[in-house]
């Protein structure tokens, strides 16, 4: 690395590895109506998702749900917070539809002046299918931050955030990891 290109992996950035958010209880429960909408949208007709009698005869012993369906429960807009969609369009009729929202359990930002964000990939580890009626508890963590050097000789960061999902019995359901490139 030349003198002009300073490392992006500063001590402050390195200190973020392992930083963990609070455990957050997702809004609502895993319910059959959410399950129906989700499985129809992903186009999975598996009767294990709706036929209780059949599902009880399988190794799972009950109706199951797609493993990462619960990951979208963690991004639900809670009714006990200000609605970011309403606010976004009040502020800007050309809003992208996302709005700025601080979600419970969010990690603090990585202190870098690299602002361009690109999706670098995802990982899934699956241990148990969530059950109907489950409450979902999730926790975020910066599991890894690495530095790479681009073709232009400039350093960039690959930041990996890990989210662990458990149910009300503290059973591990799944772990997801999302890596983003910061240039």
């Amino acid at each position: 690395m030349t003198q002009e290109t300073q490392s992006a992996l500063t001590p402050e950035v390195q200190a973020m590895i392992g930083v963990t958010g609070e455990v957050v209880e997702g809004w609502g429960i895993v319910d059959e109506e959410y399950l129906r909408r989700f499985t129809q949208a992903v186009m999975d007709p598996d009767p294990r998702y709706w036929d209780h009698e059949f599902a009880a005869s399988t190794k799972f012993g009950e109706v199951i749900t797609p493993p990462i369906m619960v990951s979208y429960m963690s991004s639900r807009i809670r009714p006990d917070q200000e609605d970011p969609i309403t606010r976004a369009f009040e502020e800007n009729p050309m809003s992208d539809g996302i709005g700025r929202v601080s979600r419970p359990g969010s990690l603090p930002p990585v202190p870098t002046n690299l602002v361009r964000v690109l999706n670098a990939g995802n990982e899934l580890e699956i241990y148990k299918y969530p059950s109907i009626g489950d409450k979902i508890f999730f926790q975020n963590r910066y599991s890894d931050i690495r530095e790479r050097v681009g073709r232009d000789g400039r350093p960039f960061l690959i930041i990996t955030s890990e989210t662990t999902y458990k149910n009300q019995k503290d059973e591990l359901l799944c772990i997801t990891r999302a890596s983003s490139i910061r240039r």
Partner: protein, 186 residues
């Protein structure tokens, strides 16, 4: 026997769509177990073919409450973000992966883990091929661990989601795979 990915990609989009091997509910209900003993290096999994339309994209946005306009507002996508059309969600592709692995391992196996990247913008009109190929296998703790290369190609051969996965299959005559899944200690 599924058609080889290489052969599928020689076909037109319509011909590829006609080769869709996504199982019906009844096929999933009656699925016979693929055992660890049955798989071999280079074995290809059934091809799941998708033809996403604006309605499919809207339904996915609604199901997961993703309100980003690039997925359903064509005017916004074209004129604001300068995209070629509305875009297929990365989250939808990500949710197809465990479904694809689940179906392969049913009724007694387990779709343990996967990793993949998102590389290409997918739009309505693309015909998408979810594919998988066995790259290795190892028996550990009485369970059959099978490594896969996976991806989702467009009908013109662009790989939009290169990745890998590991699934667990029962060994013929062996113990059932535990549920919830507990991997053996290394």
């Amino acid at each position: 026997m599924t058609i080889a990915l290489e052969d599928l990609l020689q076909m037109s989009a319509e011909e590829i769509w006609a080769r869709n091997e996504r199982p019906s509910g009844d096929e999933l209900r009656n699925k016979e177990q693929t055992y660890f003993d049955d798989v071999y290096d280079g074995m290809e999994l059934p091809k799941y073919i998708y033809r996403p339309t604006p309605t499919h994209l809207f339904r996915w946005s609604a199901a997961i409450e993703n309100f980003h306009r690039i997925h359903y507002d064509l005017d916004f996508g074209l004129n604001h973000d300068k995209n070629p059309s509305i875009l297929v969600h990365g989250s939808w592709k990500q949710s197809v992966v465990p479904q694809f692995l689940k179906d392969f391992t049913l009724p007694g196996g387990w779709p343990w883990k996967a990793r993949f990247e998102h590389r290409a913008m997918l739009v309505p009109g693309d015909v998408l091929i979810m594919w998988g190929k066995v790259t290795g296998k190892e028996e550990k703790g009485g369970m059959g661990f099978v490594d896969l290369e996976i991806g989702m190609k467009t009908h013109d051969g662009i790989e939009s989601m290169p990745g890998t996965a590991t699934v667990v299959l029962p060994v013929r005559g062996g113990e059932p795979i535990p549920y919830p899944f507990v991997p053996p200690a290394d």
